[in-house]
C-alpha cells in the first residue's frame, strides 16, 4: 500500500518537482500544503507517514513545522528539501528530527535513494 504523503512548499513549481519524482503508484495519496500552518493542520488531522518539507516559507517556516511535529508528538518521517543549504541549517533540521536533507532543486535519484534508505521503497 502506498504511504500517505504530504508535500509542503510555498512554490507550486517546487511542489510539482517533488511530486514528479515520486513513484507513480504513490501519487494518488499525496496531499499538498502551501505553507507551514496548512501543513500542521493536515498533519494533526491525518496520519501522514512522509512529509517533504521546504524551510524558507512565509509565516510558519520549515523549522516551525518541525517544532510543531515534536510538540504534537507525531510519528512522521520528514525529508527536508531546501534552498538554504548552509551546513548549520542541515544539522539544525536533523537535530529537530528530520530524516534527511536534500538541496533544491530536488533530484529524482537523490529523493528515491533517501526513501529507500529509510525503508519506504
Amino acid at each position: 500500500m502506498s504511504p500517505s504523503v504530504l508535500i509542503c512548499d510555498d512554490s507550486n513549481m517546487a511542489r510539482k518537482q517533488v511530486l514528479r519524482s515520486l513513484p507513480e503508484e504513490w501519487k494518488d495519496s499525496v496531499q499538498i500544503a502551501c505553507n507551514g500552518a496548512e501543513a500542521l493542520t493536515i498533519l494533526r488531522d491525518n496520519s501522514i507517514e512522509i512529509l517533504f518539507l521546504d524551510l524558507t516559507m512565509p509565516g510558519i517556516d520549515g523549522i516551525g513545522v518541525l517544532q510543531g511535529i515534536q510538540k504534537l508528538n507525531l510519528n512522521c518521517s520528514v525529508f527536508v528539501i531546501s534552498a538554504d543549504i548552509q551546513p548549520e541549517m542541515q544539522s539544525k533540521v536533523k537535530a529537530l528530527g528530520a530524516k534527511e536533507f536534500m538541496r533544491k532543486p530536488v533530484q529524482t535519484d537523490a529523493l528515491l535513494n533517501n526513501l529507500q534508505q529509510h525503508g519506504f521503497l
Binding site: 510555498d10 512554490s11 507550486n12 513549481m13 517546487a14 510539482k16 518537482q17 514528479r20 524558507t56 516559507m57 512565509p58 531546501s82 534552498a83 538554504d84 543549504i85 548552509q86 548549520e88 541549517m89 533544491k104 532543486p105
Partner: protein
Amino acid sequence: MNEFHLTEDQQDCLQELINIAMGQASDQLARYLNTFVYLKVPSIESVAAEDLMKTLSQQKNTMAVVSQGFFGFEGIRGEALLVYQEEDSGRIADLLGYEPDELSQDEQLIDISSILTTTFLNVFAQQINNQLSYNAPKLLPNVQEILSEHLQQMPFTWDLALKVNINYQVTDYSFNCNMILLIPETAITNIKHVLDRILEEY
C-alpha cells in the same frame, strides 16, 4: 512585476529559481564570514527603466552601490547593483571583523558584493542553462551624484530592472541590501522562454 508581464506560473518559477540562487549565495557568504546567515524569502519586483532613479533616490540614506557587469550567451547580459544603506555600513565592518588597518571599508563592501552577486548569478544562470562572465566589481562613491550618470553609461540599453530585496540576518547583526539587476529587453524575452520551457516539463 507588472512591467515584466509574467503569468502566475512564470512568476512562481522565477521566484523559485531566485530562492535557490539566493540560498547558495547565502551559503557562500556564511562560509566567508564563518557564521550562520538567516535567510528570508527574498521579494522580487520589477522597476521600469525610467522609474529606477526615482526609486533609488527615495532611499535617502543609500550609502554605497557596488556595480558589476555580467554577460552570457543568447542575449543574457546585464549589470548587477548591490545597494547598501548607510546605517548598515558600520555593521558590515563589525561583521567582517577586519582590523582597521587591513582592508578598507570600500574593499570589504566590494568583497561581500562580489560573493553575493557572482554566486547568485552563477546559480541562476546554471538553472536557465546559461553561463556568465563578469567584469570587475566597482564601488560607486558619492552615490547620489554619480549613480544617474553611471546608469546612463551602461554599455547596453536596459529596459527593465529586476529588484531583489534581500535581508541578511547574521547572528547578532542584520543588514539589508537590495540587489538590482539591470537587464535589456532581449534578456527578458530569453528568460521568459526559458521559464516556459521549465514549466512545460511539469
